[in-house]
């Protein structure tokens, strides 16, 4: 297990190097001129030229990449071209905001997705199965922005149960500690503000959870069905084990590998791909941070930001792989 883990960690290195080259390359292919953007719409061409020099944008690409990579090795993600602040410092709160939203969404998606899938497979071809899979199908196909706006219309505007956007009532000022507002409010021991933070989290988390929930439910169901047909399940039943124990212990464990894969992939995707949900619910997360940076041609933020998100994605996948090996000791990839 340890050897496997170490080997997997080493394999990360070429992946990360490759990613840094790709993000650097892609970012420099975005049409548009960052110097112009920084100088503002009304600047003179001379000034734009000066800025290009200051930022080293007049150097050949490989030299620009060289100095970027050197910085990365020293843990320096660079400075934002527009705000001039270090990206490592600037991106933190945005990452935390996204992580909080994504974890909440994944909690909902996994809890409901897995259980819906299990119940559907257990009662295969029942009305419950049909309606659950119908809901899952709708969930996969529903556009997130539409769902978000409908949620706002129903729960914020018509019923007035939940706030329509943001992370906290804007009139509340909180000095963040971890930038996870739910945790921060608990640390401050303020239940009223905690409740406010949770209320703000519900609508965007549900909107974000729909697609992964539906995918997880479908995968769980099909995977469970396959395992349920196997001999050892018949044996377990024959032993007289309760149905609950058979389904949740014996079947689920062996059915969980594909489910875990999907959960891992979805988690990674959501961390970088929550931009639509963040926009609709004005959630100040990393997706919108990058989106704004692209609009402003802030090269350094875009390349380092994408690199961070991609790295998180790779690491989550690594963790998923390690969990496989842990759940099912038969899996030791590449072992000869």
């Amino acid at each position: 297990m340890l050897a496997y883990t170490v080997r997997r960690l080493f394999m990360l290195i070429p992946v990360l190097v490759g990613m840094s080259i790709i993000t650097f390359g892609i970012v420099h292919m975005i049409p548009g001129d960052p110097a112009q953007t920084i100088a503002g719409e009304k600047a003179t061409p001379q000034r734009v030229e000066e800025i290009r020099k200051e930022l080293g944008l007049d150097e050949p690409l490989y030299i620009q990449y060289g100095s970027y990579a050197k910085g990365l090795l020293q843990g320096d993600l660079g400075k934002s071209m527009t705000t001039k602040r270090p990206i490592g410092e600037e991106i933190g709160p945005f990452l935390a905001a996204t992580a909080e939203l994504v974890f909440a969404a994944m909690f909902i998606a996994v809890f409901f997705g897995v259980n819906l899938g299990i119940l559907s497979s257990w009662r295969q071809n029942s009305w419950f199965d049909y309606s659950a899979m119908m809901i899952a199908l709708i969930g996969v196909s529903i556009p997130v922005f539409w769902l978000g706006l409908m949620e706002q219309w129903l729960f914020a505007q018509t019923l007035d149960w939940l706030p329509s956007n943001g992370r906290l009532d804007p009139r509340i000022q909180m000095e963040p500690i971890t930038y996870f507002y739910v945790i921060d409010t608990i640390l401050y021991g303020d239940t009223e503000v905690l409740w406010d933070a949770v209320k703000h989290l519900i609508l965007p988390a549900v909107a974000l959870a729909t697609v992964p929930m539906a995918i997880i439910a479908r995968i769980t169901r099909s995977s469970m069905l396959e395992v349920m047909r196997s001999d050892y399940i018949r044996t377990a039943r024959a032993k007289g084990l309760s149905e609950f124990w058979v389904v949740y212990k014996h079947t689920l464990k062996n059915a969980s590998i594909p489910v875990l894969t999907v959960i891992g992939l979805q988690l990674g995707t959501l961390l970088g791909g929550a931009v639509l949900t963040e926009t609709i619910f004005s959630w100040p997360g990393v997706g919108r941070y990058l989106y704004t940076a692209i609009g402003e041609r802030d090269y350094t933020v875009v390349q380092s930001g994408i690199l961070i998100v991609a790295t998180i994605f790779v690491i989550i996948n690594l963790i998923v792989d390690l969990i496989y090996a842990w759940i099912d000791p038969r899996i030791q990839y590449g072992k000869k």
């Binding site: 049409p31 956007n165 509340i172």
Partner: protein, 537 residues
């Protein structure tokens, strides 16, 4: 591993318990819940910086206007100039010397006094690239409005000097027609010299002015919170204790937030949502006179758009009323001249190219395009206040163009890319527009149609309209302070521009702003810079 469900449950329990225990010992003081008298303003984008001279976007300037004051300011409802930090002012006979008498007993938020030294310091910092505090970013609006920086041959301001503690003198190299209107623009707001000297780079995030509100907190991409300045020099203002700017990027989501009561006031509304506001008993609609223009530009560098007959023909094929009805929900006026009729020197007598496809066809025939013409029509993807749906407008134009034998291919791009394309003249026809800064015709005609601004890259005259005649008129109007004479010059320029048709001016869009019914004292200002400190409930 057999009992995993149980021990994972226990870990979760321990985790929750530990959090709860920490909570009981809770940290003090990090949370302030002041839900008293506040105003929450929802907007489409966050500020970029809070140093007014270093930004050019409306959202940044809206906030800085609440924190800082300018020497003179616009009236509540129009761009006429009234006293601000200067109580009164005079101009010499030759128009080259302006003297401002400053308000006494005004203090910056950091407690330092506002005086002539502060004014001189700010102007020196803006105009002199070698000034030790000329730092932190770009000072774009300064060279744009005053002809360059110190040392440039075109620079208008020769010297700013202190006469006494409360009097400042501006000596100009040449008279500047829109000088007072320029000085009133929010980028030229006076900041605390002490705060700027302390850290000119960080001044962007820690603004200190003399304005109605003090800066409290900026959560990027989320909220900016300001609190009442109790020592504001206008008694009784601001009306609310707190002013909160909340960015909600999606127009529909922002409107949802207003309807749910999460925000009090919003800008950047879809014009098509306006009728809903008028029907809603809890909301009110403010209609802001459009000091803007949306236009269809011909790139006169490219054939056949160098031919006036082709431009005129297309001018006859544009159905402005149709565009207004379909894409502005009626909230716009058809544009005849480059700037709207409520501004100085508007020429009512120019002859409009009415919507007439037969005339259009006739002119095309005369120009030698009897068999028709293929062209590329650029349209922006993103909504602008003056052009809420550029792509749809392009499709609408395309249909009418087809009827006169013009086959238009629509090219579209995301806003930044789009700007780069049209400002370097890559288009043949392009939909574009302008939001006026200061209510002076110079800010429309010189910026958008003078040959000096038809630069190779980063042009603001994207039609590359090179008329010498118009250039002479505009420069003359710029360099005189005789308003009567300026009006005459601008009227003449509009006549020539209409005849030459470098654009088809499309509309002056009325900008809808929506707020809660109980709000009082909101004036939708044509510059889109609102005096939110006068709003109460």
């Amino acid at each position: 591993m057999k009992k995993r469900p149980i021990w994972t449950g226990m870990i979760a329990l321990v985790f929750l318990l530990s959090i709860f225990l920490v909570a009981c010992g809770g940290k003090e003081g990090g949370i302030k819940k002041d839900t008293g008298n506040s105003l929450i303003y929802g907007r489409g984008a966050d500020s970029k910086k809070l140093d007014p001279i270093q930004v050019t976007d409306g959202e940044s300037l809206q906030v800085t206007q609440m924190i800082y004051d300018t020497l003179v300011q616009y009236k509540d409802e129009n761009t006429e100039v009234q006293p601000g930090l200067a109580e009164k002012w005079e101009n010499s006979a030759d128009g080259k010397v302006w003297t401002f008498h400053l308000r006494k007993n005004v203090k910056f938020h950091d407690g330092t006094p506002f005086n002539a030294d502060a004014v001189v310091f700010n102007f020196e910092r803006w105009m002199d690239k070698n000034h030790p505090q000329h730092k932190g970013g770009e000072f774009t609006y300064y060279p744009d409005m005053f002809g360059g920086y110190k040392g440039d041959s075109t620079h208008v301001i020769n010297k700013v000097s202190k006469v006494d503690d409360h009097t400042v003198k501006f000596e100009l190299n040449r008279p500047l027609g829109p000088f007072l209107a320029n000085i009133a623009m929010p980028p030229f707001a006076i900041g605390s010299p002490e705060a700027i000297k302390k850290d000119p780079e960080k001044f962007n995030e820690n603004p200190v002015g003399t304005g109605p509100y003090k800066f409290v907190e900026w959560k990027k991409n989320d909220t900016i919170t300001l609190e009442k300045n109790p020592d504001y020099w206008v008694k009784g203002l601001p009306k609310t204790d707190k002013l909160i700017f909340k960015s909600i990027p999606d127009n529909t989501a922002r409107f949802n937030a207003l309807k749910s009561g999460d925000i009090d006031l919003m800008n950047g509304m879809n014009p098509t949502d306006a009728p809903q506001v008028e029907k809603d008993s809890k909301l009110q609609l403010f209609k802001q006179q459009g000091m803007n223009v949306a236009y269809l530009s011909f790139n006169m560098k490219k054939k056949p758009f160098d031919n006036p007959k082709v431009r005129q023909a297309i001018s006859y094929a544009v159905n402005k009323e149709g565009i207004i009805k379909n894409f502005y929900a009626g909230l716009a006026e058809p544009a005849i001249n480059p700037y709207p009729s409520f501004m100085m020197g508007y020429n009512k007598d120019v002859k409009e190219y009415e919507f007439n496809l037969d005339k259009a066809k006739q002119l095309l025939k005369e120009a030698g395009f009897e068999k028709g013409l293929k062209l590329k029509l650029h349209a922006p993807q993103d909504p602008r206040p003056y052009l809420p749906n550029g792509k749809k407008v392009a499709e609408f134009l395309k249909e009418d163009f087809k009827k006169i034998g013009i086959d238009a291919e629509i090219v579209t791009a995301e806003w930044k890319t789009y700007q780069d394309q049209v400002k370097s003249g890559q288009h043949e026809l392009a939909l574009y527009g302008w939001n006026g800064d200061n209510g002076d015709p110079d800010n429309f005609l010189y910026v958008l149609l003078d040959k000096n601004n038809a630069r190779e890259k980063d042009a603001s005259n994207i039609s590359y309209y090179m008329s010498e005649e118009v250039h002479k008129l505009l420069v003359e109007a710029q360099s005189t302070v005789d308003q009567k004479k300026r009006e005459e010059l601008y009227k003449k320029a509009q006549e020539i521009i209409k005849k030459d048709a470098p654009w088809v001016p499309l509309v002056h869009a009325t900008v809808p702003v929506a707020g809660k019914k109980e709000l009082k004292g909101f004036f939708p200002h044509p510059t889109s810079g609102y005096k939110l400190y006068k709003v109460s409930r």
